[in-house]
């Protein structure tokens, strides 16, 4: 699952973007761009968009910045319609030997209010036209609000530091530390941490990822035949941390667990031993210093469900297929002050060694992946 922007923000951004696009682009093109932006789930708007796409894709190179600007606030379906049109224009113009408006694209790229994907595409178009210009711009994106530009710029820091490893360890360490501070993608964070560890440096991975580490756990409840995934056990009805309730085979009560795992794993096998066909719940309180939009990012190879502040947000019934950091990204609205997370984690009947895991990892981030840690 991918994160969605909040609806109200999307609507406002769309209105602003269309207003500016209409002001700067000929009316027929603005109308066609609007058709592309109107596509929605389950193919809604595909039929008018298909006709409008031909109109947009027939534009000349000067229209590319306007097509990219139409991506501001667009939904993910529309982004692809718009990208394909801009790409078609760019390839046709390049094949005809006509120049892209690089100065305009640079201006577009510099404006971080534009959609990160649109800015990345602008960067790629600049790189095709003027590779040296793009190379010179790249280091400036280490703190960019867009992941793709930022990642590549951070990789530049990593590569530069790596060249110092044999000759100047201090410089290498400083370079890797700097890169670690800017990196927002889990695999890149991991890679940099490993490089530092290889140089004898200590890296606080828990802090780098920003895991939620303090939890209350309760279980085991039943999951025989997978029936526990849909069954609402007591914690789903209300969380009473002092209460004792009926578990799978005996009365159960909440226990504390503070994970020491570098990767933040909340391991139900620790308090409850290795069990099969069981359900567990984990509860945590998370303090936010302000009301804000965020993402809850979860990794697990068990079945899971998530409630934030008592509201069910998402769940998935898949067992022991695969897991990675940030496997699932769930958009969430945090309140100022205390917020509660309730995670249901179900274990199935498989008996192979690799199916013993009964755990999850959870962190809170912004859209970019910057960890947000509990204020208390």
């Amino acid at each position: 699952m991918m994160a969605h922007r909040p609806l109200h923000a999307l609507c406002l951004a769309s209105a602003l973007s269309l207003a500016s696009a209409s002001a700067a682009t000929p009316a027929p093109l603005a109308g066609a761009l609007r058709e592309l932006r109107d596509v929605a789930a389950e193919g809604k708007g595909n039929i008018p968009a298909s006709a409008a796409w031909k109109h947009v894709a027939a534009a000349d190179a000067k229209a590319v910045p306007a097509i990219l600007a139409a991506m501001d606030g667009a939904n993910d379906y529309a982004l692809n319609w718009l990208r394909a049109a801009a790409e078609t224009v760019a390839q046709r113009e390049a094949a005809a030997g006509r120049a892209l408006p690089v100065a305009e694209l640079r201006k577009f790229l510099a404006d971080v209010k534009h959609h990160p994907k649109a800015r990345r595409f602008a960067y790629e178009l600049i790189a095709r036209a003027e590779p040296a210009t793009a190379r010179a711009l790249l280091p400036g994106f280490v703190n960019d609000p867009g992941n793709e530009l930022r990642r590549e710029a951070v990789q530049g820091l990593v590569d530069a530091a790596a060249k110092n490893v044999a000759t100047d360890k201090a410089a290498a360490v400083a370079g890797f530390r700097s890169a670690l501070g800017y990196s927002r993608e889990a695999d890149q964070v991991d890679d940099i941490a490993k490089r530092l560890t290889d140089l004898g440096e200590k890296v606080d991975l828990q802090a780098a990822f920003g895991w939620v580490t303090r939890w209350k756990l309760i279980g085991p409840f039943d999951n025989t035949g997978g029936a526990g995934f849909e069954k609402a056990f007591a914690p789903e009805r209300s969380v009473d941390l002092a209460a004792e309730t009926d578990g799978k085979t005996a009365k159960v009560r909440w226990v504390d667990l503070v994970t020491k795992s570098d990767y933040g794993f909340v391991d139900f096998n620790q308090p409850f031993k290795e069990l099969k066909e069981v359900t567990g719940y984990a509860y945590a309180e998370f303090w936010s210093d302000k009301a804000r939009t965020a993402q809850v990012r979860i990794g697990t190879d068990n079945g899971w469900k998530l409630w934030v502040n008592g509201k069910f947000l998402f769940g998935r019934e898949e067992y022991h297929r695969n897991t990675e950091v940030d496997q699932y990204r769930v958009p969430v609205e945090l309140k100022a002050g205390s917020n509660t997370f309730l995670v249901k984690c179900t274990q199935n009947e498989q008996v192979e060694d690799w199916t013993k895991t009964w755990q999850f990892q959870l962190r809170v981030t912004d859209d970019l992946g910057t960890p947000i840690v509990s204020a208390k």
Partner: protein
């Protein structure tokens, strides 16, 4: 010329030609080419051209006329989806379109977001990815429609990746989006991408691809394989025509030959459809012919299966009696394809092995080492074999003896 004749001529010109390779395992979905003969004595001089690809992928190339279409995925999260069109003659890039995945792109490291093969009706190319993003383009790269099935149905995903390839029949694109959670198969209108139908499917991860067959009335049907067995549906409606419920593999796919279904079930089970609504007749079953990752191939009166280690088994297609086994150099994921009576088998190390199955116990007649990991099934068109890796696309069309 009268207008109706002109219209018919245009329609024929725009439809897939016999020599086109329109989908995974070719136009009939049986892995057999009926066009020009392929070279059988391969060596490095057999490579007509090789081009770099901008991303990873296992999907089979689709060849329509003078164009070769390939999908790929790139980026740290494999979330940049590519559809590429190359010129058949020299491998030069004709156009490329990229999309941003709207669904989950996580896969097992061995595969990537560009694992399912695209399909074509001769006029359009339909590309689907592990994220369940699906794009329809005309042959010149103009976008006709786009769907984000993984966004529309956010629990339709597989943390190991999705691999089911597309088929198109009766103006409907059939997409098997089957997994442990939100599991379904959809019939998308080929012209608009809108759902014609969407049916619930077993909640179990499934990497098999749909197969085409003909019904008793000559109409095209689609066989959907899953852990439960095989369900045969009408492409226009998704309505079940008949089913086989004795379980089946979730990796190798059913092969249809001469109206019979060679199903990776309980080893290999061969089914003959009965009247609509009636269960099929089981002709034979063989545990000895159990395929690995590769799907079965039926050539005349012989059926072939490959295990993951590279043992090629040949049986009599009439009764399943195993006739011989040939140890190839493995391991194997790709399904063998055939032209001119020869089998073209590409192992995971990129070694192409040409087998003459007419010889007693089968004989490897030549080898070509592409020296790159190859997981995807090759394609055949224009007298050439098309093989792709995570980084390259090869056209292999010259006989070293020529």
């Amino acid at each position: 010329m009268k207008l109706p004749s002109l219209g018919l001529a245009c329609l024929l010109a725009l439809s897939a030609r016999a020599d086109d390779w329109t989908q995974f395992r070719g136009p009939a979905g049986n892995g057999i080419a009926t066009g020009p003969k392929l070279p059988t004595k391969l060596d490095t001089r057999s490579v007509t051209w090789a081009v770099d690809l901008p991303g990873r992928g296992l999907s089979s190339p689709v060849i329509i006329g003078d164009r070769v279409f390939v999908t790929a995925s790139s980026g740290a999260r494999q979330d940049r989806l590519h559809v590429l069109c190359f010129n058949l003659a020299d491998g030069s890039l004709r156009w490329e379109r990229q999309f941003w995945a709207t669904g989950r792109t996580m896969t097992h490291e061995k595969i990537s977001a560009a694992t399912p093969s695209p399909a074509s009706d001769g006029r359009r190319i339909f590309a689907i990815f592990s994220s369940n993003d699906c794009a329809a383009l005309d042959l010149d790269g103009d976008l006709l429609w786009y769907r984000g099935l993984g966004r529309d149905y956010p629990n339709a995903s597989n943390s190991l990746g999705m691999s089911s390839s597309l088929v198109v029949a009766d103006g409907v694109l059939v997409a098997q989006v089957e997994n442990d959670s939100e599991s379904f198969t959809a019939g998308l209108d080929a012209a608009t991408g809108l759902n014609r139908w969407k049916i619930d499917r077993p909640k179990k991860a499934n990497w098999t691809s749909p197969s085409l067959l003909k019904g008793a009335d000559g109409k095209t049907l689609v066989a959907l394989q899953s852990s439960k067995g095989v369900t045969v549906v009408e492409p226009a409606t998704g309505k079940t025509v008949w089913s086989y419920d004795d379980g089946a593999s979730t990796v190798p796919s059913t092969t249809v030959s001469e109206g019979k279904l060679y199903v990776p079930s309980q080893g290999l089970t061969v089914l003959e459809p009965a009247a609509p609504g009636q269960p099929p007749k089981q002709l034979w079953r063989s545990s000895q012919m159990r395929p690995g990752t590769s799907s079965p191939l039926v050539l005349g009166d012989r059926v072939f299966t490959m295990n993951d280690g590279g043992i090629l088994s040949c049986a009599d297609a009439a009764d399943g009696k195993r006739l011989w086994q040939l140890r190839l150099k493995g391991p194997f994921s790709a399904t063998p394809v055939s032209a001119g009576g020869f089998l073209y088998c590409v192992n995971e190390k990129g070694l192409v092995q040409v087998v003459d199955p007419s010889k007693p116990d089968g004989v490897v007649v030549s080898e070509l080492d592409l020296a790159q990991a190859v997981i995807g099934t090759p394609s055949i068109a224009a007298g050439s074999l098309f093989v792709r890796s995570d980084g390259k696309l090869w056209r292999i069309g010259r006989d070293s003896a020529l």
